[in-house]
């Protein structure tokens, strides 16, 4: 599926627009950046509660497709600005990390 498909899911709100045609092939959950850096899955939607600029750097390096901030976390201003500059899609949701990942997983299958 594509980022557009996530955008169409009722629980997810886009806060930073990216390239909506990017494909998503998996889901990845992790808040620890070192771990995400070594275990992140290419083209995955990354569900996390880390709404800071460093999440963007790890996303770029691991080539995951988008960030989904769960538990009602909002990106801080620096993250928002940088995500917009770099065209990285950031979604927010009030769902828990688990529920958010489950929704993406269901949408994928």
């Amino acid at each position: 599926m594509t980022l557009q498909d996530i955008n169409n899911l009722p629980d997810f709100t886009i806060t930073c627009e990216g390239d909506n045609t990017l494909t998503v092939t998996d889901v990845f959950c992790c808040d620890m950046l070192s771990l995400a850096m070594s275990k992140g899955i290419e083209h995955a939607a990354w569900v996390t509660v880390m709404g800071g600029v460093n999440t963007l750097a790890v996303l770029r390096l691991t080539e995951m497709s988008c960030i989904i901030l769960a538990e009602g976390v909002k990106p801080d201003d620096v993250m928002k600005q940088k995500a917009l500059e770099e065209g990285i899609a950031v979604f927010t949701t009030d769902l828990s990390v688990f529920r958010a990942a489950l929704k993406i997983h269901e949408a994928l299958s």
Binding site: M32, L33, S34, M37, S38, M50, V53, A57, V58, L61
Partner: protein, 145 residues
């Protein structure tokens, strides 16, 4: 004659907003040089952890990269406080990062262990109060024995 490419990155300390930029640019350069994806992945993780360490522990530094047909060599040099006990620092989970740094998602104590794991050779030269130089080599092809 072998081709060799040199890259230099200056990493500023305590600048969390641009932390990771050198590693991203490094990764893009390796792609241009047709390094295999698995080697790029390993070298990028090692580079990222080294970059972050210079940002959070050492007021920044430089990364000098040499890529030739056989190896990717990364030399990370800083003028930071040095590492008091290298053996301890190498242990998984050991970290002197502050709570503020941990809140940013760093300080898991996995940086140096990952750098060792994802590179083929790693040496650390450090002097208290003077700085630290970490040299990592990642082979472009697996060793044939």
């Amino acid at each position: 004659m072998t081709n060799s490419t040199e890259l230099l990155y200056v990493i500023s300390g305590e600048d969390f907003a641009s932390a990771g930029e050198a590693s991203t640019s490094f990764k893009n350069e390796l792609k241009k040089l047709n390094v295999s994806p698995e080697v790029i992945r390993r070298a990028s993780i090692a580079m990222y952890e080294g970059e972050i360490n210079m940002v959070i522990h050492a007021y920044g530094g430089t990364a000098r990269v040499t890529v030739d047909d056989k190896d990717i060599k990364i030399v990370l040099a800083d003028n930071g406080p040095g590492i008091e006990d290298v053996e301890k620092a190498m242990q998984a989970g050991y970290s002197t990062a502050t709570d503020g740094i941990r809140d940013l998602g760093f300080g898991a104590g996995m940086g140096l262990p990952n750098m060792k794991k994802y590179s083929d050779e790693m040496t650390i030269e450090t002097h208290e109060g003077e700085g630290t130089t970490v040299t990592m080599i990642v082979h472009r092809e697996p060793e044939v024995s």
